[in-house]
């Protein structure tokens, strides 16, 4: 039963991949070696496609890898396998938090973490900036976009559409 196997393998990835979407990549390399569902070359293509299509990278990777292994149903089952641990773990944590949400210690802790989370977001932003802002033109577009986001406060979707058009017009 390849479907059962797919669900189980991606459930494992969902359970052990802690953090952003690209943490699933080493796990997928192991899968390609263990089962031959896809080659390392295909995996490289998958990463490129998962990074530049809508949707979180980790989910895109699961859908793609599952599809390569066993067609449409394979993609669906791999994706469901990936997200099931999140649902179980987070729902459990929420139930506990409801009990402790008024707890003073929990609140001190969460308040203390916030500056560290901001540091994490800074790093995620820098990683993206490294690959996205290749030269001076890109930097200039970034500066103009940033200024208009601060000034006009339109929705993020508006700015994503705008930046896609800028990319096409300027042949970035």
């Amino acid at each position: 039963m390849i479907y059962l196997l797919l669900f189980f393998e991606f459930f494992k990835i969902g359970l052990f991949a802690i953090g952003g979407g690209l943490v699933t990549v080493p796990f997928l390399f192991d899968l390609s070696e263990a089962y031959g569902w896809f080659t390392a070359k295909e995996l490289t293509d998958m990463i490129a496609i998962a990074e530049s299509t809508p949707g979180p990278i980790g989910v895109n990777m699961a859908t793609y890898a599952g599809f390569n292994a066993a067609g449409i149903l394979g993609g669906l089952i791999a994706t469901l396998g990936l997200v099931t641990p999140s649902v179980i773990v987070i729902v459990t944590i929420c139930r506990l938090m409801n009990k402790y949400s008024c707890n003073r210690r929990v609140n001190t802790m969460l308040e203390g973490i916030r500056p560290a989370v901001i540091a994490l977001i800074v790093f995620a932003g820098l990683e993206l900036a490294k690959i996205s802002l290749a030269d001076l033109t890109h930097g200039l577009i970034f500066a103009i976009l940033f200024a208009s986001i601060r000034f006009y406060k339109k929705s993020p979707v508006f700015y994503l559409g705008l930046s896609a058009i800028v990319g096409i017009v300027l042949k970035l």
């Binding site: 895109n60 990936l82 929420c94 901001i118 930046s163 096409i168 970035l172």
Partner: protein
């Protein structure tokens, strides 16, 4: 309280416009949940990221599950998560089946180069707001600098940085501020 259909559609939209990992969807979440619908405060959104970062599973899904659960319990968690993965399922399956060539189209490449710049600009803008609200005194500043050092200089995993911050906040709260 949001209906299940609303939750599904909201996260469908967020999944559709998230380009990159879990942090790329932060500007969208802030706009939809904090600014437009007022379901969460900005602080609560940050807390969800802290928890999503340290718990099993990819951050994007953890955050979606979390918000869904808070709105409508288990059903809400499932609705939000399914909404979040649905665009990926549709688009990736379509690409894998028929549109592999689409990825090598010149104009698609140009558009995505533009979008990536837009994502960085949106994250930068959210960071400015977060900074103003949360880095207010020397203690906050110290935690931020230490976290940057742990991440940048010692290449510590994000999970440990969050745990270290939590433990030190707890210790300072218990023993120093008394």
């Amino acid at each position: 309280m949001q209906s299940l259909k609303d939750l599904f559609l909201l996260f469908f939209k967020i999944g559709l416009f998230t380009f990159g990992g879990g942090y790329a969807m932060l500007p969208l979440l802030k706009d939809e949940l904090v600014v437009k619908r007022r379901l969460l405060s900005e602080d609560e959104l940050l807390d969800l990221y802290a928890i999503g970062q340290c718990t099993p599973g990819i951050i994007a899904i953890n955050v979606a599950t979390f918000i869904g659960y808070r709105q409508a319990r288990l059903k809400g968690a499932v609705a939000a998560t399914l909404g979040m993965v649905f665009p990926s399922l549709l688009i990736i399956t379509l690409i894998a089946m028929v549109l592999k060539q689409y990825m090598y189209n010149r104009y698609v490449t140009y558009a995505f180069a533009g979008i990536r710049i837009g994502v960085v600009a949106l994250i930068a803008s959210v960071l400015v707001d977060l900074w103003r609200k949360n880095i207010r005194n020397y203690a906050d500043g110290t935690v931020f600098v230490l976290a940057v050092a742990l991440l940048g200089v010692f290449s510590l995993s994000a999970v440990w940085v969050v745990i270290a911050a939590a433990v030190s906040a707890l210790l300072i709260g218990e023993y120093v501020r008394k």
